[in-house]
């Protein structure tokens, strides 16, 4: 029996869709069977980021309306084995779907696939409720800025209310330079506020933007820091224990200081 994981954030633009695409691809590259579900009905994007836009024929709405079988609506990603996409309908809106219908889809997918990643829309309304309805676990994506963190905090409260557990945190667009000069919150500050388990930190990486535009998830090209971060998160999702590297840039002096304080 597989896991259904909702990828959510509260705030828009923090990297839910990018994270879903990259984590899903990375899990498939690790040999897992994965299906990505776009729950952003009316504003779908996951198909573009995955580069599968041209091959979407049926959507989750067609499955709900019994226009086609669930298996027929899944788009196979030909670049890697065991990676599928269930696109959202672009002509409907979020109120056309009931949380129970989404749950039924997730329950079916769970029996076949190791991982079902549900890409949640921004917000806390129906779209979020639909996306989280069938989830066992959650990944909350945030950027290290106060507005994204407050929204993440709100989402965590709502996920805890419906007893989705565990809730793991991804800090996205982390900039060691900005933390270094004191203009960005560091990991410890973010974790102090949100108080959930950190599963990974993705550094700010311009390769993310180009990969999104090209429809090729970053993890296919292993070189960039962003790709490596997503690969590490995927490995942690499969149960491997991999330490989270310290991305924070420190000067020689503070490194020496750290070394001494650790010794004692």
């Amino acid at each position: 029996m597989g896991k259904v994981i909702v990828v959510t954030s509260g705030k828009g633009g923090v990297g839910k869709t990018t994270s879903t695409a990259n984590l899903g691809t990375a899990l498939a590259l690790l040999g897992k069977s994965v299906v990505l579900v776009d729950a952003d009905v009316g504003l779908r994007n996951l198909d573009i980021v995955m580069g599968l836009e041209s091959r979407v024929v049926y959507t989750s709405m067609d499955v709900i309306e019994k226009q086609c079988e669930l298996n027929k609506a899944l788009v196979r990603d030909r670049r890697v084995d065991g990676l599928m996409l269930l696109a959202a309908s672009q002509k409907n809106n979020k109120d056309d779907m009931q949380p129970e219908q989404m749950k039924a889809i997730c329950d079916k997918l769970r029996t076949t696939y190791d991982f079902t990643l549900v890409d949640s829309p921004a917000g806390i309304e129906r779209g979020f409720r639909n996306a989280s309805a069938g989830a066992d676990e959650a990944i909350v994506v945030t950027t290290p800025d106060v507005s994204a963190i407050r929204d993440a905090d709100r989402i965590i409260g709502l996920l805890q209310n419906v007893e989705i557990e565990p809730i793991n945190l991804v800090i996205n667009r982390f900039s060691p330079q900005l933390v270094g000069n004191g203009s960005m919150m560091d990991q410890a500050d973010v974790l102090d506020i949100l108080n959930i388990d950190l599963i990974g930190v993705v550094p700010e990486d311009s390769a993310v933007i180009t990969s999104t535009n090209r429809g090729i998830p970053l993890v296919y090209e292993d070189g960039s820091p962003g790709a490596q971060a997503y690969m590490r998160i995927a490995r942690r999702l499969t149960g491997q224990r991999i330490p989270i590297p310290d991305l924070e840039q420190k000067g020689l002096f503070s490194n020496i200081l750290n070394w001494f304080t650790k010794k004692r």
Binding site: I124, V146, I149, R150, D151, D153, R154, I156, G157, L158, Q160, D192, I193, N195
Partner: protein, 185 residues
Amino acid sequence: MNRSLTGATVQIDLKSPTLNDEEIDYLRSQLRENYDLIVRGVELGDDSASPPIAAAPTTHTISQTTEAPTTRDGEPSRIVPCTIRSGQMEEFPQGSLIIYGDVNSGGEVRAGGDIVVLGTLRGNACAGTNGRLSAVIIAMDLAALQLQIGNCVNRSATDQKPPGYPEIARIGPEDVIVIEKFVKF
């Protein structure tokens, strides 16, 4: 009716219309049976007084005492063993609130009496909603942008670094909320 009042002693304050003895006895027994409330005394309405514009609902006249309390003697408190996250609200009009966690930005705590946060207070806190002006707000790390005690509202100066010790907020002279280092009560 809030179950946290169970077992409390209450005073019935009757404004108009005045009830007869039989009706008061019925009210007393109903309160005891249904809500486990013990009626301490009944203050009868004054017939000569002008009737209120609209009759207040019964529950209102029970839970409201005639005047604001001046001490925290006998005030109940409620423990909240978790963090109050953004969008969540914890309210306890009957007494004090003790939070075993943080109150995050966007979260809200409101208490009739004191508020004690055994973590970081970043959200809104409103103490003394029952009118007791000696109500205080204590936090291990008081980082709230806005505090309220009774009707006093205070906006903390922004861009202040946390001092690293617990702080207490109370109403000081000239009805202004003052924040100082919390040593002991």
